[in-house]
């Protein structure tokens, strides 16, 4: 079966399998601290993927996704800290709250696009932040909510890591299915030309609402995972910074690639927690990295790598392979290498 796949697809599969194998084996290879960081990176990666679905595929860059994730986290935190409910209730309330907020935000934003969409979502995210600062009785204001304990089955750090890995893999799979489904094509149509989509008879506002809800669902899941990782939530979880970091991760890794945001997330977490141990001016280095990526690799790390890969294929005279890629991925995939 593998033989019928193109070289590109085979390389991708091998890389993916390698990454997953390393992911599974990680708790055996590195100390607790790094497993904790990997857990964080996976969760933030999932969060960033939900932004990628909107920003990379639908062309709707959001700056309020952290509001949705934080709403879900507060749902869990409130049930745990203030009500003392069981884990199932915590998770269900978290899910319900995240989805409810997504629905409200989606309905508000579904008729906007471009910069206007960005501004609306920015305001939405900050509304959640403002409420979490203001509703002291519910959210504990900036002191946050503590006393959130992970379910005992996934209580230990490595159990939780594997659980997160499993959830993130499932979600990635689901996202992969979504973006390659007819619905995914319609979503990409929104990005390419909303007017034409409307001409073709699509209710584009409704399409946007649907994709917002799907992205909101994954953001909700990431919010619930994050609150169980930190066992703590405070308004900074909903702040613009959190949303913007998610967008930056996606851009760094490559928008519209799904795997890019995950790579970006690992890089950002490494900067924040590992580089910072050796370099006090790590934000400077991080900023420089972003500038370099934006200047020289506009499609992010994944974009740059695939560009070099296609260039290599071309030099090797594998035109047959390239046309296969073009047939599978559409001419868009080759665009970057052709413009070089």
């Amino acid at each position: 079966m593998l033989k019928r796949l193109s070289l590109t697809a085979r390389v991708k599969l091998v890389l993916l399998a390698g990454a997953i194998a390393v992911g599974i084996a990680l708790p055996y290879m590195v100390p607790q601290f790094f497993v904790g960081l990997a857990t964080l990176a996976l969760i933030l990666g999932l969060f960033s993927m939900s932004i990628d679905l909107l920003g990379g595929y639908a062309g709707l860059v959001t700056l309020g996704q952290a509001g949705i994730a934080a709403a879900a986290g507060y749902g869990v935190g409130y049930m745990a800290n203030r009500v003392g409910a069981g884990h199932l209730t915590q998770i269900l309330v978290g899910l319900a709250l995240g989805l409810l907020v997504s629905a409200i935000f989606g309905a508000m934003a579904m008729r906007a696009d471009g910069v206007y969409f960005m501004m609306i979502t920015l305001a939405q995210g900050m509304i959640v932040w403002g409420l979490s600062m203001r509703l002291t009785h519910i959210t504990g204001a900036e002191n946050g909510l503590t006393g959130i304990i992970r379910p005992p089955v996934i209580g230990l750090y490595w159990q939780f890591y594997w659980f997160v890995l499993g959830v993130v893999l499932l979600c990635s799979l689901a996202l992969y299915v979504v973006v390659h489904s007819p619905f995914g094509s319609a979503v990409r149509g929104l990005r390419e030309s909303e007017a034409r989509m409307r001409m073709l008879g699509y209710n584009t506002a409704l399409q946007k609402f649907y994709v917002f809800m799907v992205a909101g669902f994954f953001a909700t899941l990431s919010g619930i995972l994050l609150v169980y990782l930190n066992q703590f939530i405070s308004p900074s979880a909903a702040h613009l910074t959190a949303s913007a970091l998610g967008v930056l991760q996606a851009i760094l890794g490559g928008l519209g690639t799904l795997v890019g945001p995950m790579i970006g997330s690992f890089i950002l977490v490494a900067f924040q927690n590992v580089v910072s141990q050796y370099l006090e001016r790590w934000p400077t280095l991080m900023g420089l990295t972003f500038i370099v990526v934006i200047l020289f690799a506009q499609k992010g790390i994944v974009g740059a790598v695939s560009k070099s890969w296609y260039a290599w294929l071309r030099r090797r005279g594998r035109d047959e392979e390239l046309s296969e890629v073009a047939r599978q991925e559409g001419p868009v995939a080759l665009e970057s290498s052709e413009s070089a």
Partner: protein, 460 residues
Amino acid sequence: MRSRRMRTPTALLAVLILVVVACGAPGGGGDATSTTSGEAPDGDVTTTTAPAGGGDTSTAEVGGGEGEPLRIGVLQPITGAIAASGQDAVDAWELYWENHSTEVAGRTIEWRVEDTGGDPDTTLQKVEELVGNYGAEIIVGALLANTTLALADRLKDNPDVVVISPIGSADDLTQRVRDQYPNFVRAGGWTSSQTSHVLGDWAYQQGYRNAATICADYAFGHEMCGGFVQVFTERGGTVEPANQLWNPLGAQDFATYVTQLQGMDVDAVFAVQVGGAVADLLQTWSDFGMKDQLPLLAGETLTDISNIRNLDFSVVEGLISAGHWAEGLDTPETQEFVQVFDEATGELPSYYAAAAWTAAQYIDATLQATGGDTSDKQAFLEAMRELELQTPFGPSVLDDYGNPIYDIYIREVQQRDDGRFWNVPIETYEDIDQFWPFEPEEYLQQPVYSREFQGNASEG
């Protein structure tokens, strides 16, 4: 075509997920203490042993035996909005150990500075790093109340770590929820309302009867403001609830607030701000000519030297505040520290700096008292509570709740001979604990100060 391309990765992923689930099962199963197959992690619930076996440093390295280095994690915000204050604290911490031997009672003091960025979530990651990876036995931090709370909460069940909070001042950590944090102590620290209680009393003594307030709208502002309002009104003063203004944290334009204060029929204003808002408020206050019309009584941070050192002297001249720190205090301990800090950094030290220095002094003295033994953290804390130290803050002793009892100073901003200015004590309230002038039991009955509860006795 499309569906076939999807099928292979899908199948592969499904298989791998199954593998994950299978691998996770032994540890995640009902009986986590039993050892399963050789490949499976030996999941011991009580000690957090890593699957690799013994890879967990929090149990492996924290011995506390004599001769081993004592590792201390210093958690401060050295990037972000409050980086200047955090950097002050880190500088003072390092200066202490430059001026004192790092060999204490047979232990070598080692530390690692980590950056909280002023964010609770980041703080939690750094706590994992310092305790789990570095092997810190003592954590000194953090700065903002929310990061301190996150830090204290994460480590409250860890008997191998002591949390020393010299700056983070959230009242409840040594008050109502004290029992939840058995390893938390504020050596070199304070509670937010501790100093404003004193200012409330002093204001009434000065003959002020009707005060307005303008405070930053978050927990620290609520607590400081409440401390002032409660004592001032219980003494007999009046604070109209409508005369309590709350500005959002990080407000930059105080013109509207100052205009509102102008229209109020009051004889004094109590104000608390932090960070950049301090300069904005004081400058506006001065620009509007209010400085000569209405006495401004400042909560400690409003005239902290780190917040006012770049202002013009005319803006801050003669401002009255209450604080546990007064860099103009004429004692050998204070002036030695001020001089060391000034020589090293070219600045007069803020309370953030004094607090970090004092925390180091506490650790130093406690180690000497226990002969370098840190194996029993509760015994270590007990030894710390017995100390009576002469610190840059003045005499300091810890109360039963883990908060220092200090002299609290009424301070005035005065010019030094070299042209710079600083806070000089003009009156001293001796031996003030976090409850003064109330009895602890009685005080702990009331809720912690919030925007809704200011302890206002003149209300209704």
